[in-house]
Amino acid sequence: MSDRDAARRPPPSRSPSVRAPAARRDMPPGVGALAYVLPVYIALPLLALPFATTPRALAEHLVSAAALRALWLSLATTVAATAITAVLGAPLAYVLARRPVRGRAAIDTLVDLPITIPPVVAGVALLLVFGRHGLLGRSFELAGIHVPFTTAAVVMAQVFVASPFFVKAARAGFETVAPGLEDAARTLGASPWRVFWTVTVPLARPALAAGIVLAWARALSEFGATMMFAGNLPGRTQTLTLAVMSAMESDTDTAVALSVLSIAIAAGALVGARRFACSRGLPF
């Protein structure tokens, strides 16, 4: 390295944790090349999809009645599911972040479980509770409420699988809010709810927003639980992902068009979440 380059670099820091410039770090041989295998593997199929169609064909298939219905149903159910997740998830996240709850580890595991259990299994489990002869379903049935294979079931399946993403992010966000700030607000005359809305939520906002985007994206990609618990009824329970699968059996072009749309939405959501998260240094 020349002296001029050395002069351009920032002065050496006293802190030992500061890293050397990235380009100068030694790596085990081969790691650099291996690092690029996975991105290529992910990018290829994603790029293959738009190339399998033309903009004109894309537009044509997307405006078909079935596609529009699936798109609309997906948007409506995911927005509803995300709203429910946020309303019920925020209090849970706040309690986990603030209170030394008994059995916290157990609650943590329980809340995270929907991430790891197969969605199809989640769908079966939901049926066992809310189905016609289910644990709660029997009482519902007596009250004239029928849950499975309705649009409500779609939303319920989405809430089940998507909630951990919001709760994890929201909890991390609430943990960054210093309790001293909330105490200060209380002494200034703010009621607990006012403190929550004017101090806690604004300070946790980047994490909450990131959590909302992630939960929403997970709800949008939901397939297995919905399939089992809500079925695949066009216009009522057939969401974008279910429509892709149905279309694959008859009309590949529509399936490709719907897939391209899904990728666009997912990429948009991820970029959005990154933006929010980066502004606060949160891990996403």
């Binding site: 209380r186 002494t187 200034l188 005359g189 703010a190 607990p192 006012r194 101090v199 604004p202 300070l203």
Partner: protein, 365 residues
Amino acid sequence: MLPGIAVLMETAGTLYIDAAIGLGGFRLEAAFEVGSGETAALVGPNGAGKSTTLGLITGILRPDKGRIALGEEVWSDAARGLHRPPHERRAGLLAQDAALFPHLDVRANVAYGPRARGASRADASAKADAWLARFGLLDHARRAVHELSAGQRQRVALARALAAGARVLLLDEPFATLDVEARTAVRAELREFLSGVKLPTLLVTHDAADALALAGRVFVLESGRITQSGAPEELLARPRTPFVATLFGLNHCRATLDRGEGLREAHAGPIVFHVLAHGLEGAVSLSFPPSSVTLSAERPHGSAQNTFEGTVREVLPLADRLRVTLDCGVVMAADVVREAAAALEMNPGRRLWASVKATAIEVYP
């Protein structure tokens, strides 16, 4: 700080606290009063319960026994199950780091209290500006709080507490985040400000200088209990616990005094002091400044009535001398000029003789 501020504050009456709270294995039992317009200091080592005491006064914590009141208004009464929530108490808390809201600018921080109490946006801003003007901070109204210096942040926090209608001022280590120069300046500023304040003010600190400069009365809190209280000069003259003695740089120990008059024996653990005391008997405190202790390598044959052999534990350089901590069965500090220290080869572990004149030792109950 600024003339006329006091006029804007209502006199609230005496802050009265006689309450207890258990937190895990720790138990705090605090009982003291701070009069209207009085500044009292609450000093104590880390973990003594200072923050817990503030929590009880602000209402963030709920006592399981006793009462807290401001004037006629009862804030907590465990026996009656009464607990006013923090937002109804208006105890102005000045936290160590000022605890300004980072998502709000300076003006919105000061306007927070009036807004919380129902003022319109415009009224709250006007009120905030009035307080900022009084503290000379109006030029900074639109600034983000992280752009302010530590001293400015403390002033904004004070303005914010007063704008919220604080009826008690709780200053929690307000100088802890300031560097030495700012500390002196802010302390002087605060002293002037507090002289015009009509509210009960409690200053939490672990620095004797803060207490001496600002407080008319000092409450010493150790392991959850008030161990001594009084004017700073009183504590300085007659510290009752090793902590208070150390706070003011004195040696202290408890001893048992023999009967008699004139030169008498005081048994302090394994060693015996010879002291002058009249009209006292039984358990007493002994205190003497480090400057009254002389050290020598050999057993001294002088006029000192007290000589003890001990082991050097620590040597701390001060401006013009060394402070040597010596364990003679009772731990005591001795101040030695540098030249003498060099001659004595003062290192931890070395055995030395300490001498103290009987007349240098203060004896009190």
